[in-house]
Symmetry: C2
Subunit: 652 residues, 2 copies
């Protein structure tokens, strides 16, 4: 890629961003779109429903940026919970890291790279210069200038570790402050006990009661056994629906609708008064509900929530093994009541273990072999196939422009479609792993998506071979530095373009919310029942955090390879900081609070990025015929991993 | 190696074993050797001191075998503690595994191997047959007979896993029974707290007291702060020595010895009465001791033993993090008072972490690069070098027999010398790892010695290249199955010889205790103060368990490669079972009780051996042109590792 092509791409995407921002600033002021751009406020009835038209509504403005900028961290913490603050700290951390990296990269490394002569095409004009002239590939082999890159790698690692340590400390202190500031919550006094061993006919409730009043008489308060209520739930839902239907019928004065036939589909059978008919049905249902409720005692599941008089009591029970066999009376922290996922309470330890293993295997297979089905589907949709399948398109497909669009965009569209399926798929997989809380599921899915993204964005593109070739590389650890050092620098221009297209435009389309906008428009058009029920989307940590972290990975690994990428990443972090603050304030609502459980993930991912940078550095200095530098880099990954180990023990 | 050579080697070593056994059965009856062969009994004054001579004392007998066989496991448990029982269970487990493996190997696999024609030297007589004819190398490439080996691998894995599971369950139940059967011990009510944050001038004792009475008012009982007492200890030792000296002087009526000169070495200065002189010195010392004792309060270390009213209270404090910063108020189970290692109480968390890392690095370096210094030392002691250094040996070294002995035995003697240094070295390394109990140190040293032994016995011999070549192999995991499958079967005869020489003779020399015998003889000869003080050796788990486990590794990996090794290993386990029972009854004394903490090590080592067998099988079936079998073996290591994971969670 040459410089002018990069600038063109930057221009196009900058234009797209500005367009999205402008459209957003206009559309957000239209009352009909409040459900799209401020569902959180609508749900809290904070957004005033001005429907009077004025000109101001059509003029784009940047007021939302000021609004998003304003709230202090303390206000975010109090109003939106700790997870929100942790998510924003990822941006703050990224901004700090890449401000330092950007200054070092652009002021020191870039001139050195550009003054090199390895690629020897320095005679062309500035716009025609290959981007590779700005990368380390342009420095002569064995040149002493490479020691500057060497020092930069050490300096960046030091700075990142220092920032990581501070950030972890800061977040730990926030977690503590948050805990002290918030009221005592019921789930802090409660322990979830699973795997209660009961023989047939015994009552779980009695067993739990006698167990805890025997062993923890001073701290035990009460317990409630989990029961199988799916049938009751569906009955109650039916009752609710029927009630709503009846209310609607009674409101509608139309007498012609008041009769229907009893039998199949209302066509056959005796003609009856509809209201009488439904009222009788409702009574039947309510009777069934009462019967189901009274028979619930027999549907106990060997799991119970046990409450204690003090948090220390709950913590004691939580941390002490209750029985010789650790697979029975398994205790874990009770999730918040909004956070409970009810499916996996009855499964045994062994079944949970097996499903855990199966899910991990499935996740690995999906991650590694993802590109194979995608490639097959992409192959199926080539032009000849399309013409055979959809003959009526033949005429259109002959047009050169259409052909270009289809061959150029269809494969990447299909890839994007498949990629966008990954977060829901990973959530589904995590759901079957045996967790009892949505927050656990989301954290687990977040890890899976992170693995997937790093593999399929970074490795699959950098190594750019078949999946089996990539596995081959991973199975040959001795050669990893060499292979990466050969492959990674060459992909610098691809990744710069990736940051610009996927990063910048991704952030602005996150702001613009195209899909919810369309669905909202359709709903208003066809259903005509707007504002009846606004669904506030839950903060999608599991899909957003991996996206942000993958840019950090790109920034850190390309820091000394191709420092030109750094300003683009810095801009991404700036935009992301504002846009996500805005989304948090207006759109998303945390359904539960994990108390900063996502930060260790950010920490580990940053450590991984650093070590990957070191590994590439080792390979690169060898390729650049500077074996001494290569050897002297070796302590760096070891020290980084030790630092990680220390942090784990220091902050838990 | 041919069959007759093996038989010769077996004959020689069997002879050696019988010689050792005979000598043992005679020597153990000599009263002068009681301190060598029954120090435990002597220390407990159970061994009657018969000094009347009779003929029976000179006749070898097998009575000791009956004695060693007699005690039941329950008696061992009650009399010698749980660790002893666990150590004996290793033999029981090994006997069970290798009885099954031996039957399958000899009855099924051996005939199949022998009937193969791959090596095509089937015309020679039985004594001249190469041992390779009994190994899998003799089966034709691609032969369907190999599927029998395939099934045998699956069957053995299943049986071993079943036995492992049962054994773990059995030992867990023993641990629980032992706990219930023994009296409540003080250390079960006590928690060791380290890293107590104190500012200068504060009293640690007050801080600990107020902390625990504030947070655990109902269960807290008392505490005692650790103090720096090394100076006091040395003073008290001096006082003791002086008292003993005085007592001896007063007993010895010899007046000529009662005077000495005050000054340097008793040569110069005033002539004084020795007894008066020493008595005055003793008084001075006692005064110093009193002063030191009164100043102890100022020598507090930020660590304390905190006792609680109940075991549950202690467990609660143990398992709950006391403070936000997990590196202060670190709690751990207090070791038994006999088990405490006092050195590392004052060091901070960070220093312990650093010393831990350094020790691990040192251990890895020693393990991997061990053979390099050994080879250098062996090189230094070749004949020419010896002749240059010790010219007077020139005449002797010209004798052919002497030359053969020196060139044949000196290198292996030096290797043995270095190997025997490893357990003490590993103990020393573990000592610096920051543990506060000897049992922790020994367990950690045991793991280190196990790594070392497996690497330097199995891998170094099987791969038989330079250390760097071996590291190269490990860094190339894809090729590990192929490299192992090529190298390992060829070493079968070497390892059979190893089992016979090192295993059999090792066990019988363990019984014979040559070095203690010699040192006892010397002491009796020169010191003439026998029976004054018998030192009972501590059970050397850290050097013995790895030795036993390495034979298990050999047996499992060679099970289907060269089943001829199995009977020899079975004999080793039989001999070991009797000999170690005898040693435990008569010689060793456990200084502390770890409650079966060594078993997880045996478990992990067995799992490792199984997986190694599978890896070799994968490589071997590929080499033998049976790729389907190679692919079908793949699930086996995965299932084994999952089984291991399950066991870890099931038994903790």
């Amino acid at each position: 890629m040459i410089l002018s092509a990069l600038l063109t791409s930057v221009g196009i995407n900058l234009g797209l961003c500005l367009l999205f921002f402008t459209l957003y600033s206009i559309l957000r002021k239209q009352p009909g779109n409040y459900a799209v751009y401020a569902p959180r406020l609508v749900a809290q009835r904070k957004s005033e429903q001005r429907s009077d038209f004025n000109l101001e509504r059509l003029i784009p403005s940047a007021g939302w940026i000021r609004q998003a900028w304003q709230p202090s961290e303390q206000e975010l913490l109090m109003g939106f919970g700790l997870d929100t603050v942790v998510a924003m700290r990822i941006f703050v951390f990224g901004l700090r890291v890449f401000t330092f990296a950007g200054i070092v990269g652009i002021v020191i490394l870039l001139p050195i790279n550009y003054s090199g002569n390895q690629l020897s095409d320095d005679d062309s004009d500035l716009p025609d210069i290959s981007l590779d002239s700005f990368s380390i590939s342009n420095v002569e082999d064995g040149s002493n200038w490479l020691w500057v890159h060497f020092c930069a790698a050490y300096a960046l690692t030091g700075v990142v570790c220092y920032l990581l340590y501070n950030e972890y400390g800061y977040i730990s202190s926030k977690i503590i402050d948050y805990f002290y500031a918030s009221k005592p919550l019921p789930h802090q006094f409660t322990v979830l006990v699973r795997g209660i061993p009961v023989s047939v006919g015994d009552s779980v409730s009695e067993k739990v009661g006698s167990f805890f009043s025997e062993f923890y008489p001073t701290v035990y308060l009460s317990h409630s056994v989990v029961r199988r209520t799916s049938k009751l739930h569906s009955l109650i839902n039916e009752v609710k629906q029927l009630r709503r239907k009846l209310a609607r019928l009674k409101l509608n004065g139309n007498a012609s609708n008041r009769h229907k036939r009893e039998g199949f589909l209302g066509i056959f059978g005796r003609r009856v008064n509809v209201i009488d008919y439904y009222e009788k049905k409702l009574e039947d249902l309510q009777e069934q509900v009462r019967m189901e409720q009274s028979s619930l005692a027999g549907k106990e599941v060997p799991a119970a929530f046990v409450s204690f008089k003090s948090r220390l009591g709950a913590a004691t029970v939580l941390h002490i093994q209750q029985r010789i066999n650790p697979t029975v009376w398994v205790t874990e922290q009770a999730p918040d009541h909004k956070d409970i996922h009810w499916v996996f309470f009855s499964t045994s330890f062994l079944r949970r273990f097996i499903s855990y293993v199966l899910v991990v295997v499935a996740c690995i297979v999906i991650t590694i072999l993802f590109l194979i089905p995608v490639a097959i589907v992409q192959g199926l949709t080539n032009l000849e196939q399309l013409e055979t399948w959809l003959p009526f398109l033949k005429g259109i497909l002959r047009l050169a422009f259409i052909r270009q669009v289809i061959t150029g965009y269809l494969p990447s569209l299909i890839l994007q479609l498949f990629v966008s399926l990954i977060p829901p798929v990973m959530i589904m997989l995590s759901t079957h792993q045996g967790y009892v809380a949505y927050s656990q599921i989301e954290k687990s899915a977040c890890i899976k998506v992170l693995f997937f993204t790093m593999w399929n964005i970074f490795f699959a593109n950098a190594l750019s071979g078949s999946a089996l070739y990539q596995i081959d590389v991973i199975l040959d650890p001795k050669n990893i530095p060499r292979v990466l050092a050969e492959a990674v620098p060459g992909q610098a221009s691809f990744f710069i373009a990736y940051v610009v297209t996927s990063g910048w435009t991704g952030v602005s389309s996150e702001l613009f919310r195209l899909l919810p906008l369309i669905s909202n428009y359709c709903r208003r058009l066809f259903c005509k029942k707007d504002d009846e029920h606004v669904e506030v989307p839950s903060t999608p940590y599991h899909s957003q955090i991996p996206k942000i972290l993958v840019f950090e990975l790109l920034g850190l690994t390309y820091f000394f390879l191709a420092p030109l990428i750094l300003p683009f990443i810095l801009i991404f972090y700036c935009m992301g900081y504002i846009v996500y603050r805005n989304q948090i304030l207006n759109v998303y609502m945390s359904k539960y609070e994990t108390s900063g459980k996502f930060w260790p993930l950010v920490h580990s991912s940053t450590i991984f990025s650093l070590v990957l940078m070191h590994v590439i550095a080792i390979g690169l200095f060898t390729l650049k015929k500077l074996p001494l530098a290569s050897a002297l880099i070796l302590p760096l990954p070891i020290l980084t991993l030790l630092f990680n180990e220390y942090c784990k023990r220091r902050f838990l």
